[in-house]
Structure formats: C-alpha cells, structure tokens
C-alpha cells in the first residue's frame, strides 16, 4: 500500500471533472434516479441505519452526484462487469449465409470511486470462476478497463457480516486503492500498480495528509471493525464442513419452506453470477444472442428436456444457494462466495436471514457433535474459533 495522500472534497470535484473531460467514465454510489417511491423510507427496516434502497451505483456527471458516505447501494457493483443483460454477438442471415457480428471485448477506461469494499471484494472472488480454464473475455475486459477505489465502510447496520466470510469493512481485495473518510475529504491509498499509476497521473489533485488525518482514518476503520465484528460469529470452516457432509438433512427443509423462490437475493448479491444465454430476434433473420442474469431459485434453472428436475422443489433450490456459496465455491476456488454485504437479508420478502442461517448451521454442527475437519482450514476468524 502506498503512503496515504489527501484528497479534499474540492479536489475530488476537480478530479471527477478532469476524468470525465478526458473521456473516462466515473462510477460511484449516487442517489437513485428514477421515480420517487412514496413511503419508501418508512418501509425501511428499523435496523437499517443507512439509506438502503436510496442509493445506486451509476455513472455520474460530476462529483455532486456522488454520495460517498453511509448508505448501501441497492444493487451491487457486479452490474458493471456482468451486466443484467449484454450482447454476446449478433447474427444476420442473408439467404443461405449467416453473418456473425462480434461483440468487442475491449472497453473504454472507467474509474469506480467509493464503492463498498464488500462489493469490490466480490469481483475478485468471481474472477476465479470467470477464468476457470476458459477466460470470459467480456468480464475480463471490463475488469481490465476499470480502476477501482473502494471507500472504507463505516458498517451499514446489523445485517453486515463481512468478517464472518473473510472480508473486512476496509478490505482492498479486488480494489486498486482505498478511500477513507477524514475531515474535509479522504485519505487515499493505492494497493496495485494500476492504482499507483492512477495516483501519479492525477497527482496534482492530491496533497500530503493533514495533521492528525492518518490517526483519524485509523480510528474510523477500527471503529468499523468493532461495529461489524459482533454481528455474525461463525466458524466458516465448520460451516463448510457441515454443509459438505449433510446434503440430506431435515435442516434444509426448515429453510426451504420459508422461501418463495423469487430470486431477489441472487439479483442483489454481489457474488451470484449465474446467467442464462438467450436469443433475441430483432427483425426477420437477424438478432442478438444475450447473456442475462439468472437465478438458481427458479425451477426452470435446472429442468431437463425430459422434464426430470434435479432440483425439483424450493428446499433443494435453497440448499443449492447455501451449498454453492459456503461449500461448493470454497471447495473449488478456495473462496467463500459471499462478502457479507447483507443485501439478501435486507431484500428478502420472506425474512430469510443468511447471517442467522449461518449461525444456525454453525450451532447445529456443534450440536450434532461433529468435530470440524480442520485439515484444510482456509482462514477462520481466529477470535471466533472454538
């Protein structure tokens, strides 16, 4: 990590203006556009101290749009790397001939400023599957074109549980650098070459930290650690071990019956990456093949042509979601497919709470008296180890 530099609010405005003038898109949390939903704020859960649902990540026109404070954008950052739908290629038939029009896999430069560290960490986690033998050029192209500075998080509410899954409110995983709020602006550090190049290129906007700035930043980050640490305390390895060896267990039914299969949790999730590939005709003999977000919570997701369905009910489908995140992905890629952002908890209409579920699994694992297999310990949070 580089020595921290100071970026005042005024300098941030100039930096954003300069980037946009140079043709670089600037993406960050901003007040959600679109229609105002009456009563939205009243319907926020009482535990939500931030502004969940009122912010969204979007391309901003100036620093005035940016909301670099508390508040969890409704959707994660993944939409900028795996769009809700995107063209894979287009085709056009001319008589017996069919032409394919390729989709470019290089992208214009972008800078993300002030993203939630959990959302940024999710990108690095998903990098693994997107490069599992076959390289997803569309994902990688967007990753390469984007410089990301995360914003150290002050922790939104008691649904945040990032430390339980190996992430921290000030992690720089997946990021090129980190902003930490201090009086009058931000302390900015770079953690990758891309981040360092960025700070050098726009060095004029940065200055030496003000007196006490570094201490203020440290205090802010330590306070966040303290705030989030108590939310969900589990042994991630014990949870993984239990899930792996209890595919058939009455426990799953108690979760599955509380799920109506809407799939909202998978849409708001920063790490859920499952997709569908569909053709869209755009006239006679021409169209586009698109990739769209999909959800493992839908019955058709796994329906065979023969009508056999390996995940025939919501119990199986809910188990799949938990299993994929906390056992399959760790086995395959040595990462938990969750960053503890808590969006699924805040979004679920049925009150499913993944934090509570993880705690329940952990307790259940201890009650059933199974010693956790600690031979392949990934990185359990030491303070909550048994």
């Amino acid at each position: 990590m580089t020595e921290p530099l100071f970026l005042s609010h005024e300098a941030l405005a100039d930096l954003v203006a300069g980037l946009i003038a140079a043709g670089t898109a600037v993406i960050g949390p901003a007040p959600a556009g679109g229609p105002v939903i009456p009563g939205l704020e009243e319907r926020q859960r009482p535990t939500v101290t931030g502004m969940y649902g009122t912010l969204e990540y979007r391309e901003v026109r100036s620093a005035d749009d940016l909301a670099l404070g508390p508040g969890m954008p409704r959707l994660s950052l993944k939409q900028f790397f795996l769009p809700q739908n995107e063209a894979l290629f287009a085709w056009k038939r001319r008589g017996a001939e069919t032409e394919i029009h390729e989709t470019p896999t290089t992208f214009n430069p972008r800078v993300v400023l002030g993203a939630k560290p959990c959302d940024v960490a999710a990108l690095e986690i998903v990098d693994a599957v997107m490069n599992w033998e076959y390289h997803d050029e569309l994902w990688n192209g967007r990753r390469a074109a984007t410089t990301i500075f995360a914003l150290a998080c002050g922790v939104e509410d008691d649904h945040c549980f990032c430390p339980s899954v190996g992430v921290a409110p000030d992690t720089t995983k997946g990021a090129d650098g980190l902003f930490t709020p201090v009086s009058g602006g931000f302390l900015v550090e770079a953690t990758t070459d891309k981040g360092r190049v960025f700070l050098e290129s726009y060095g004029a906007h940065f200055s030496a930290p003000p007196a006490g700035g570094t201490d203020e930043a440290r205090a802010y980050r330590e306070a966040a650690h303290g705030r989030v640490g108590a939310n969900v305390q589990i042994d991630a390895v014990r949870v993984k071990d239990w899930i792996e060896h209890h595919f058939e267990d009455p426990f799953w039914a108690t979760l599955g019956v509380r799920c109506n299969g809407c799939g909202a949790c998978t849409m708001v999730c920063p790490t859920c990456h499952c997709f569908d590939i569909v053709d869209e005709e755009e006239g006679v003999g021409c169209g586009t093949r698109r990739r769209c977000w999909d959800t493992c919570q839908a019955g058709k997701f796994t329906l065979h042509a023969s009508n056999h369905n390996p995940r025939a009910d919501q119990i199986a489908r809910y188990r799949q979601r938990i299993n994929h995140k906390f056992a399959v992905y760790p086995v395959k890629f040595d990462e938990v497919l969750c960053t503890g952002c808590g969006r699924c908890v805040r979004t679920c209409q049925m009150g499913q709470n993944i934090g509570e579920i993880l705690v329940a699994i952990d307790q259940y694992a201890q009650q059933t008296g199974e010693a956790p297999d600690t031979t392949d310990v990934a990185a359990p949070p030491a303070e909550v180890a048994p």
Partner: protein
C-alpha cells in the same frame, strides 16, 4: 471473438431416427477450423439455431471419422424443435468440444460392455464406433440397448449393422408394451435384460448411458455381475447454458458436470450427493 461465440456449420445430412428424433451431420464453414478440429469420445458441444438459442448435446459421431460431427436431437424444447426442422444446407452454430471424455485408450485389450437406453445411445454410439474403427485393439464388444418402444429405438440402420457383425454381440430390448408384432428382440427393462445377458465382468469395462432412472437401476446389476465401480463409466446430462463452468446450473454438489464431466465412473457418481 469471445468464448460464447459459436463457429458456423452447415447441415450436410439429416437422418430420421424416430418420430421426434433426428441426426444431423455438420461440417464447419471455416475449413481451417474444420481441419484443426479434434475431440475425444464423450465430449459435448453447444449447438445453436440462430433465433431459437443454444442447446447442449454430445458429439454422437466418433473422433475416428474426421471432416464432420453429428448430433442426435429429440424435439423437446424450443431449440430442439427448431433444430428438428433444419434441412441440408442450413446453418447452425457450434461451440466445443467441451468436457472430459471416455478413457478409450486405457481400455485397449479389455472387453467392453455398452448399455444404453433411448436417446442415451447417442454418446455411447460415439464410443462404439470409436472402438469398432479400432476393432483389433479391444476384446469382446457387447451392446445392450433398449427403448420405450420399437419406434423409439434410434440408429436403427446401425443396429442392423452391429447385429450383422460377428465381432459384436448386440441385444436390443423394448419396455413391456412397446413391442410390435414383428419385434424379434427382447421385451423388458434394460437393467433386467442386462442381468439376463450377464456379460462376464472379467477384465471388462462397462459404459452406461440413459435416463437417470435407468442408470440408477443398472449400477446394482453391474455390481452383481462383478464389475468394479471404477470400471463402470457413464455420462450425465444436466441442463447447461455456457458449457464452460461459468453459468452455474449443472453442478451436482461440488461437481460441475460441464467441466468435471460429463463422463464419470460409478465410483464418482456414488460419491455425489443424491441430487441427480
């Protein structure tokens, strides 16, 4: 060109298999790609009809016959219904080959028992021809093939060819009620008929493919005949979209059928959660 963009191929032959199933022979438009293209028995591809979408099928022709690939398709959904309507000269898309394969080279010198049900003969046919094209390298070849009814048997012309060979033992069967007056094969479910045929386990390898329920009941029969689970191979079907381990729907437990399979030994299948 990204990994989801298919190669173009031309339909050069269409063979009617059953009332709803056809085999298509495809040749790549890009001759250079066609020359370079190679695959192993058991691998699959993503086939597309532009406008309808993509669907996953094994490559049903053997790797020992170059210049083309074949797929056998039963009209069941949107893409397969469109595929079924294709004529010679039409264009399709193909991505692949994907997945692992049957370790045919490891089977040199051993007896081979092929067991298939319905359209599950397609991937097995790929291996059968692969083996018959290298006939001298293998021991006895036994094929047990069944379908719901006589009308549902695929590759009928090739069944005749195999039956006529004296270096192949072919037993065909149809489910009870599926026989016709002139049916001279057996009547009974594939696992039961396999038990009657009782091929010697000895140094044999078994290849099984069919509907999940057939695979489920065939494994114990093979076990009873003395086949070791490591010598029993199958290829699994799961709904797929990407074929390359990304889209997230074909996993059974921590096994991704598209990348870790589709070919598995009975040992591997039995170690999977009972989801399939």
């Amino acid at each position: 060109m990204n990994i989801y963009q298919p190669q173009l191929a031309t339909v050069t032959a269409v063979i009617d298999e059953t009332v709803d199933t056809r085999t298509f022979r495809l040749e790549f438009r890009d001759e250079g790609f066609g020359r370079e293209f190679s695959f192993r028995a058991g691998q699959f591809g993503e086939y597309s009809v532009f406008g309808a979408g993509e669907s996953t099928f094994c490559i049903a022709s053997p790797p020992t016959r170059g210049g083309y690939i074949e797929c056998t398709v039963k009209a069941a959904g949107k893409v397969t219904a469109e595929l079924r309507e294709l004529n010679v000269g039409d264009t399709v898309g193909f991505r692949g080959p994907y997945g692992n394969w049957f370790p045919v080279d490891d089977w040199v010198g051993r007896d081979l028992v092929f067991i298939a049900g319905g359209i599950g003969l397609a991937p097995v046919r790929c291996v059968i021809w692969n083996v018959l094209d290298r006939r001298d390298e293998f021991g006895a070849v036994t094929i047990v093939y069944g379908a719901r009814s006589v009308g549902d048997l695929v590759y009928k012309h090739e069944l005749g060819e195999w039956a006529a060979r004296d270096d192949v033992t072919l037993v065909t069967t149809v489910d009870p009620g599926g026989e016709t007056p002139d049916w001279d094969g057996r009547v009974g479910f594939v696992p039961a008929v396999l038990g009657e045929v009782a091929p010697a386990a000895g140094n044999a390898v078994a290849v099984v493919c069919g509907p999940p329920v057939m695979i489920k009941f065939t494994f114990p029969v093979l076990e009873g005949l003395g086949f070791a689970d490591d010598d029993v191979f199958t290829t699994l079907e799961m709904r797929m979209k990407c074929g390359v381990g990304k889209c997230g729907r074909c996993n059974i437990g921590s096994v991704y059928v598209c990348k870790d399979g589709p070919v598995f030994t009975a040992t591997q299948v039995k170690a999977m959660p009972a989801e399939y």
